[in-house]
Symmetry: C2
Amino acid sequence: MKKDIFQAISDPTRRAILALIAIQALTPNAMADKFDMSRQAVSKHIKVLHECELIKPEQSGREIYYHFNAKKMQEFDHWLAQFRQNWETQFNQLDQLLTTIKEQK
Amino acid sequence: MKKDIFQAISDPTRRAILALIAIQALTPNAMADKFDMSRQAVSKHIKVLHECELIKPEQSGREIYYHFNAKKMQEFDHWLAQFRQNWETQFNQLDQLLTTIKEQK
DNA sequence: TATATATGCAACTTTTAAGTTGCGCAAATT
DNA sequence: AATTTGCGCAACTTAAAAGTTGCATATATA
């Protein structure tokens, strides 16, 4: 089943992969070396990340370098936007509370 | 098993719950009315959200109002921060490309 | 050309998550 | 006091995801 970006990042291994290739594009084998699991297991995670376009393949001979797709990650940022106002409000309320306490002294 | 915030938001129903209570605190029954599933199913989602502290209960008689915990949601924002620089870079590169094309005309 | 390496795909097993039903308890209502 | 309502917990079923092993294919290298 095709997953969305929320499901894609819900797995710790996939988050680790994203963190790695955000710094530098890597091949599946290079990624697998970093994790304590089979290459095929990592390969399945790559497939998930690729299907939801969080990573992009670049063929180079028989090797495939996977690049991080920052644009797709921004979808996450957009989803968060609906809550951003919310937490700014809560912090303003905290500020007000602190100010009130200060004034009472 | 206790889930982390990434797993918590990977479910569409839980994201919908968060979007609802970010606007206004609701009781489990009020939430269940909004979804086409049993109250108990919704209650399980509430449990997940509560365990990872994305929501906070406020008892009022026999009713429990669940509030959105914006502070916890910020953890995503912090996680995203590691990639933000990355996508800003990619956009700068796109800008440069567009500028180059423009100058060639 | 034979062999080693890099990768993806398919079948299978195991684990985990989602949803249902049934129950118990405490607060409200009659 | 009896009943209804709001909620959580536990057991169960079903569905899906994670990981394994084995195989096929294409590109390198000896």
